[in-house]
Symmetry: C2
Subunit: 210 residues, 2 copies
DNA sequence: GTCTATACGGTGATAGAC
DNA sequence: GTCTATCACCGTATAGAC
């Protein structure tokens, strides 16, 4: 088998490398990450990384694709599901989204590190998103429909989506700093649990008709 | 004069270096930034950077301190001012905060790049914040007071602060990506103007009694 | 203070034994 | 497929002329 092709089947070693690389790239970014550190974290040899993924940049791309695809898909589709009120959908979305990020703590850092500056990561990110086949419009149409039905107050759906995502993701950046200042001494896990409710309530109240 | 001491007086050259370094570190992060690039951006020679700031890490620390101190102070104090209702305070805070970040587009990236991972930047950030002498508790006390007076609904003040900051800052990360998806073809400046109102309204509705 | 030229160390990548 | 040893390059940092 030719290593590092587009096949989704991975050998055990390849998997180890990818998982280690996710964490290290997430912590250090593309530039900060060292092949040696990834090798150590995978419990393997540096040369193996090059055997499976010819170059650092190549390894990065592989990791990036995987990370990105696991980041967005599942949760976003919840907005299209039948049988839930809009408020319920928001609550479910927020809970799942925060859970998702908690399970992959390197994700926000990873995405963030690589969508700074107009040229570098952005094009890649946009292409990636398109490749997932995901339709960001589901959320948009739901919100618009609800506003027209008069169930929620008039609000730009794009701003609403941006708000929800901001509230979910931001706390993960600099989590230590935030804890230190706003929630000193509090257990981080507990904070996240409370955060799910706090965000849901906040959003729902913000769009509720007065 | 001994270069790179803690004096706040800077020579013209020193200023050029600091300003260039802000932008480059903001775009590339500590690891991604190259002394050569900073020198080019400052229209100076690489050796001069070392003359004024002995090492890259030293230059970084100088930039970091400056950036951080310009980031937080002024805006936060608005929350303590007399003669405004809580809603007005929030609106003023949001507007000023978004304006501030717009004027220093490298700031969010800069802060973000360097508060990933528990040890690295976090301690520095926390120390820095303490050094500004700023009291994050102003916001906290205001919110608590309002909740007790029954002017707003019961809400954890810490969560409220976190929400407001999230809504203000997050859009600046990956701004290109967000524009591409949520506001295609729209002028970025105009988006920010609308964003100020959208965030203010969102927050105010979210805390208003129903 | 500002420049050019150079030393030095570290990192990505490869060769080759097993 | 996995390892050790080594190369070639690039970026920080310094030396030294002006």
């Amino acid at each position: 088998m030719i290593p590092s092709d587009d096949s989704v089947i991975h050998t055990v070693t390849e998997r180890k490398i990818l998982e280690a690389a996710k964490r290290v790239f997430g912590r250090k970014g593309l530039d900060g990450a060292r092949m040696q550190e990834i090798a150590d974290e995978a419990g393997l040899n540096k040369a193996l990384l090059h055997y499976y993924f010819r170059s650092k940049d190549n390894l990065f791309r592989a990791v990036f694709r995987e990370v990105f695809q696991s980041f967005f898909p599942a949760v976003f589709e919840m907005m299209g599901e039948e049988g839930y009120s809009f408020e319920e959908k928001i609550r479910r979305f927020v809970h799942s989204y925060i859970d998702l990020i908690r399970q992959h703590p390197y994700l926000p850092g990873f995405i963030l590190h690589h969508m700074q500056g107009p040229e570098e990561g952005t094009v890649r990110v946009v292409e990636m998103f398109r490749a997932t086949g995901l339709d960001p419009g589901v959320f948009y149409r739901e919100a618009k429909k609800e506003a027209e039905k008069g169930n929620i107050r008039a609000i730009d759906p794009a701003q609403l989506i941006l708000n929800i995502i901001s509230l979910c993701i931001f706390p993960f950046f600099g989590a230590p700093v935030i804890s230190a200042f706003l929630f000193p001494g509090q257990d981080y896990e507990r904070f996240l649990e409370e955060r799910k409710e706090a965000v849901s309530d906040f959003v729902i109240h913000a769009i509720r008709k007065t």
